[in-house]
Amino acid sequence: MSILVPRDKLIEMYSIMVLIRAFEDRAHELFAAGKLPGFVHLYAGEEAVAVGVISNLVKGDYITSTHRGHGHCIAMGCDIKGMMAELYGKRTGICKGKGGSMHIADFEIGMLGANGIVGAGVPLAVGAALALKYRSPGNVAVAFFGDGAMNQGCVMEALNVATIWKLPIVFTVEDNQYAISMRSMAPTKLQPRVATARSFAERAVGFGITAVTVDGMDVLAVYEAAKAAIERARRGEGPSLLDCKTYRYYGHFEGDPMVYRSREEIEEWRKRDPIRLFKERLIRMGVATEHELEALREKALKEVEEAVSRAEEDPYPEPSEAYTDVFTDPYY
């Protein structure tokens, strides 16, 4: 497996990470300002996972995502104007304002949907992998899900089915340390209750799935592990699982009072911020200068700002739109 990443690719990975961060930081502000209806779950802090994995995908590959799906959407190449308009519930939204933050999808580019139900995307990804194995060998599906989803029955069922059918799928656990307010594995002073009996990856191993634990704050660590896993899947060697250790900076949802974790803990994780780590590395490697990287960040901020102003001005859907798209036939 060759793991040398070309310069352009490194720059692209950085650009996507800063775009995700810019989008999420702005969504955080917009929600606080009362601009965004509904529930919003932000991905800031976890960028290395989406970008590290998705940078290995090619046309024809699929992913399924979670309620915390903006990062996966952006990394897959969803139009951020359409995404922001969707968050606003506007007619120009990527799903015509019918899905919102939790249901962004773009099948054309392989993004099979964020999901409002914890773990529910995993069987769907298995189905996509089944279709690929049958129709398009060499392509893969990736299921992103959180540490909380690891306790859902349908996820266990999906792991088993993927193994016995030897499907081209990579299960990617984003262990951001909390299942809403429950600590994922190791208790803390503020949250003595854990959601999972000590191990995610071990469960996969129990199903005969090769599993590895990955530093989910280091995009290149994720990239390499995902590359190994995805190449295996492309060769027809079956499923594997990446247990990515990461952290979400914002609450479970916007408005979460976060009584279950301390400011110090957040600061400790922020010291290993995936974007800063990557930026320092790129500069040290001579891939780009600080100035060039800062310019990329500003470009991302501008792009998000444009998406916001566009979304602000865009019209809401016509009420009659509520009755379309239930079926492929006219409404009944």
Partner: protein, 328 residues
Amino acid sequence: MSERVITFVEALNEALSLEMERDPNVIVMGEDVGVYGGIFGVSKGLLERFGSDRVIDTPISEGGFIGAAIGASAVGLRPVVELMFVDFFGVTMDQIYNQAAKMRYMFGGKIKVCVTIRTTIGGGLSAAAQHSQVLYSIFAHVPGLKAIIPSTPYDAKGLLISAIRDDNPKVFFEHKLLYGVKGPVPKESYTIPFGVADVKREGSDVTVIALAYMVHEALKAAEELAKEGVSVEVIDPRTIVPFDKETVLKSVKKTGRVVIVDEDYDRCGFASWVAAIIADEAFEYLDAPVKRITTPNVPIPFSPTLEREILPNAQKIVKAVRQVVRKI
């Protein structure tokens, strides 16, 4: 078309086989559908003909494999997946009603989820509370799922072929007591459109609306009532999503009397919904209150005596028709 008399099971088997031949994207999945040929024999012989890539035996893991069928259908396959008994929907309902039913709408109409979920329904076999329900009302209640409920071998074949070709998620309900029922079925492939009710017997005094096995009970009752000089029209909606309101209302306007036979539980079910539609749109044509014959709100009991007590049947239909006819 060349017709012969075959069973309901054979008709379904032919539908699957013809569609698999026609479209390589059609695959069959489910518990024991392969080597075993389906627990009721519906997929018999398919594994041998189409191979294990297209006829997939699954573990007893409905959330996993029905979810997988839905995922595969969202990216272009046409899986026909079997939920062995509708009673088992509880372990996979999220994938059906939150995923399959809503994906197209949530994603702004840009995708198609063309999965067909075949399942078995119905009492009368002393299979007790977890293997005897019909439950189609629950599925019909959720926007985004089509619900197909055939009553004859002819309908079964044509509706299943239509279902496989339809671009929406749907649940195809097969009443267990119908599997052995025989009827004339053309050899060739043919489709029956959804949302078109079939008048199984024409009549002028009372409209009886019934589904699945209850269509046969209604026909038995009609035969009996004919001896008393009561002319019963038996309407089989065949699909409840979409629902052929026009045919029902037309018949009600003609007869002025309605009995709705529904094997589902009484509360908030199909019969109540149809009664409400009739009350809304044909009230002035009614000569008697709308009568519903349903399964009372108790779990399906095991003992044959108890089960007979609660399930709708021809005798109960006859009794109800006599009541509405008396109220002239």
